[in-house]
């Protein structure tokens, strides 16, 4: 009982620390990049939320931000980058192109990156205002604090699968 209580408290503390030191991997593909830069700049200053360091290796990042249109040709690259992110990981779709394909209803654009990878936070707008991006980041921080996220869910599912396999073998 006491052990569990302290383990829970410890997880809270770790999540609290994680929440304010999110390293991001910007997967920047299109015009939304301008708004991303504005958000990173001194006026809106994403650094206030502890997410100021873009890492250009997915292995060093906590979450990936897909900023812009993803084409069918790029989709395998995005999937590979996502798979290289270290667990636990989160995904933010920045702008309507990443969220749903936006106005690109054609042969080239993916109709929303959630067709390829699971998305935790969607930020609407074409492009979203920096305030919306900050709002999205705060939503992401909430998820991190609560220890939630689609990558946790996937891990849990996989653990259960392994458990079931082990039980079947025993």
């Amino acid at each position: 009982m006491a052990k569990e209580f302290f383990a829970g408290k410890l997880a809270d503390v770790i999540n609290w620390g994680r929440k304010f030191s999110l390293f991001q991997y910007p997967f920047v593909t299109a015009c939304c990049a301008m708004e991303y830069m504005a958000t990173m700049g001194p006026r809106y200053d994403l650094a206030r939320f502890g997410a100021e360091i873009p890492r250009f290796s997915p292995r060093q990042a906590d979450f990936i931000m897909i900023v812009g249109t993803v084409t069918e040709r790029q989709a395998p690259i995005l999937k590979r980058v996502y798979e290289q992110l270290a667990e636990p990981k989160w995904v933010v779709a920045f702008g309507v192109c990443a969220s749903s394909g936006g106005f690109y209803q054609n042969y080239a654009a993916v109709p929303g990156i959630d067709q390829i990878i699971p998305v935790d936070v969607y930020i609407p707008g074409c492009p979203p205002r920096p305030e919306q991006v900050l709002d999205g980041l705060i939503m992401l921080q909430d998820l991190v604090q609560r220890g939630q996220g689609l990558s946790y869910e996937r891990l849990r599912r996989e653990h259960e699968k392994i458990k079931a396999l082990k039980a079947a073998r025993a």
């Binding site: 069918e72 054609n106 042969y107 959630d114 390829i116 990878i117």
Partner: protein, 162 residues
Amino acid sequence: MSQLALAKLKEAFPREVLATSDYRGDETATIAREHVKAVCRFLRDDPDLQFDLPVDLTCVDYLGEEPRFEVVYHLYSTTKRHRIRLKARVPEDDPALDSVADVWPGFNWSEREAYDMYGVRFVGHPDLRRILLYPEFVGHPLRKDYPKEGRQPLVRREDPPQ
């Protein structure tokens, strides 16, 4: 605007030039597709014309007309400062014409793009592969009879959200 380029072109190729127009100084010549390469050589090498800058090469799909496709060339002369537009019609059953990538290497990628999007073959092109789309793609998406949302995905999740 000088009408020089069109006049010289008509003089040198009286039969190969099918039609010309110069609406508001936009000099345009329609050429039979067999002679595109000779005309381009002439435009580049003639000392009065010197079209040395390949601005753009693209294609238009006139679905329902015959010949169906029209390849369009835009040229500019950086020394003489004039422009010309060439057009050549290509039929649907044999969409091919001579490559001018060896006349202006700058048209190499433009021809690949026209091939990728419209399926027009440029005979004699050094490396006629798809340039924007992936090799697995079937068909040519800017043809008017290609379905608008004819996606050909490379990857998809097993459990995409509804």
